[in-house]
């Protein structure tokens, strides 16, 4: 079942003279997990804020389709976690969830059971009784997730959910997201490509307020990935000069060398790696590692960003 949940048409935002988002259009299907990728300053947060209803778009439309028909007020169906969630430091975690749940329209009985459930789910059962002022960054992020999900939204919107966290916090949040995405449609922005590859199945890459590329992760991989050879040789002078010479061979379309490593874009991986190895052997060069594969999402991202 692939029904469209969110329909964005020609969305734009202008701050005085500067156009931050320049008419972007995309759809998000129900049950998918989409990542909004882009470098800092590309317009991710502005786009997300408009989707969450915090900013008034300068043009275009955002439509949330619930059971196939558009809604006038999409806020009841959206859960939102801002980039740096800020809470009332004088409230306890439990109090904030109760407050958030009731604001979202749950009855006081519903909100009590949901609060207990979500505190458990995000691992804050014990800390819930403490004041939020004493929480760490990771705990705040998890509490933020809980408050975004407490009313069981159709669409969960997250702005850079893991960028500011340490590795453990990141892993916690990503594991939670893996679980959540089974029940809810998720849209999140990030510049950490690894995270996007790990959990999402659709990507929207934006650059300078424009969509640079979009599609399902598989499709993007198939269409844009290029055959690449990563080669590492020893640090001695002879190996280095051989590496530089190897990059100049006619089967290498494009190359980047740094230290004893080289990344070469080639037409045919198999042929090229065979030729490289033979050449290395004839010059008595030690190859430390040779990886014949495809360009990653990160390579694509860099290409898109720098283009």
């Amino acid at each position: 079942m692939t029904r469209t949940l969110l329909q964005v048409r020609e969305l734009s935002k202008r701050f005085k003279e500067r156009e931050v988002v320049k008419g972007i259009s995309f759809n998000i299907t129900e049950g998918s997990c989409a990542a909004l990728l882009g470098p800092n300053g590309a317009g991710k947060t502005t786009t997300i804020s408009m989707l969450a209803g915090l900013l008034q778009p300068s043009g275009g439309s955002i439509e949330l389709l619930v059971n196939g028909s558009p809604t006038t007020d999409r806020r009841p169906y959206i859960g939102f976690l801002p980039q740096m969630p800020v809470f009332y430091p004088w409230m306890t975690g439990v109090e904030f969830l109760l407050y958030a749940g009731e604001l979202a329209g749950l009855t006081s009985r519903e909100v009590k059971s949901e609060t207990g459930e979500w505190l458990e789910a995000v691992g804050l059962r014990e800390a819930g009784k403490r004041r939020i002022g004493s929480y760490s960054g990771g705990m705040k992020q998890r509490l933020g997730l809980a408050q975004a999900l407490i009313h069981r939204p159709k669409l969960l919107i997250l702005d850079e959910p893991v960028s500011a966290l340490d590795p453990t916090g990141r892993k916690d949040v990503l594991t939670l997201l893996q679980r959540i995405r089974r029940e809810t449609t998720v849209l999140f922005s990030t510049h950490v490509l690894h995270d996007a590859e790990e959990i999402c199945d659709e990507i929207i890459m934006i650059r300078n307020g424009d969509i640079a590329l979009q599609g399902s992760l598989d499709h993007v991989r198939r269409t844009y990935s290029e055959p690449v050879i990563r080669l590492e040789v020893g640090g001695d002078e002879a190996s280095r000069s051989w590496l530089t010479a190897a990059c100049g061979k006619d089967f290498v379309i494009h190359s980047e060398v740094s230290g004893g490593r080289a990344k070469m874009k080639v037409a045919n991986v198999e042929q090229a790696s065979r030729a490289l190895m033979a050449d290395a052997v004839s010059h008595r060069i030690m190859i430390r590692s040779l990886e014949a594969g495809h360009s990653t999402l990160e390579d694509l991202f860099l290409k898109v960003v720098q283009a």
Partner: protein, 259 residues
């Protein structure tokens, strides 16, 4: 209505936990008591200051109770106003500045309820503090100075309370328009002082200005006859408050966060 109560409960809890419910009424109570106590002991204070020539006696005509009450209102008009503005200036801007409003307004909440809860909590704090302070002043005046005419004191107190409401509403309006706390305090206090001074300088043009409320209430206490313009000023003041509220609610709606 349910959301209004939710917001209101949260505001009350915040004011309690930040001890606003403790120190604002205490300051108002202190301000209220100081005037009658100082007036009562003025001769002794002067005597103990000790640099009077020997044999010199001072006779101070003891003021009437109503006069002391009027002086108390003068105290409120300087320090009291400042305390009031400082205690509520970040009520709206603070949440927008910190970013917590992003989470609140992403939920299906009503902006009018939000603003109304801010107003209601401000009005309760101001009313409770002023009533406590005024009652304290009245009690000590009765004990130490002399009788105060009940009808005049109640009317003067109510009119003065209306003026504090006006200043509080003005501060909340500024809080919805501006971000820096210093700017909010400066504009609100400045505007309140200007308004109340203008009614002294240009009484003809500001007959019904809310700024004339402090003077009207002082005159009521001193002269004990209904000053002209009290009713008009009160009505205009209430209308201003409603107007400020509407602008603030609209501002909350269009400026949900700082992104």
């Amino acid at each position: 209505m349910r959301q209004f109560l939710l917001f209101f409960r949260k505001e009350m809890m915040e004011m309690r936990r930040s001890f606003k419910w403790l120190w604002v009424p205490l300051v108002f109570l202190m301000l209220g008591i100081i005037q009658p106590v100082v007036t009562r002991f003025m001769p002794q204070i002067l005597e103990s200051s000790g640099n009077l020539p020997k044999g010199m006696t001072i006779t101070i005509e003891p003021p009437s109770g109503s006069e002391v009450m009027a002086q108390t209102l003068g105290q409120y008009n300087s320090v009291g106003l400042m305390i009031l503005v400082l205690s509520i200036m970040t009520l709206i801007s603070g949440e927008r500045q910190s970013g917590v409003s992003q989470m609140i307004f992403a939920k299906p909440v009503s902006y009018v309820s939000y603003a109304a809860a801010k107003w209601a909590s401000m009005l309760s704090l101001v009313t409770a503090s002023f009533v406590l302070g005024y009652a304290g002043a009245w009690y000590y005046t009765m004990q130490m100075i002399g009788n105060v005419e009940t009808g005049a004191a109640v009317k003067a107190g109510l009119l003065y309370l209306l003026w504090l409401w006006f200043t509080g509403s003005l501060t909340l309006l500024m809080s919805s328009l501006l971000n820096p706390a210093a700017g909010i305090a400066f504009v609100s206090i400045g505007a309140a002082i200007l308004l109340s001074m203008a009614s002294g300088w240009l009484p003809r043009f500001t007959a019904y200005s809310p700024g004339s409320l402090p003077q009207i209430s002082v005159r009521w206490l001193q002269a004990s006859d209904a000053p002209a313009g009290a009713f008009g000023a009160a009505i205009l003041c209430l209308m201003c408050m409603i107007f400020f509220f509407m602008i603030a609610a609209y501002q909350v709606k269009i400026r949900k966060s700082n992104v």
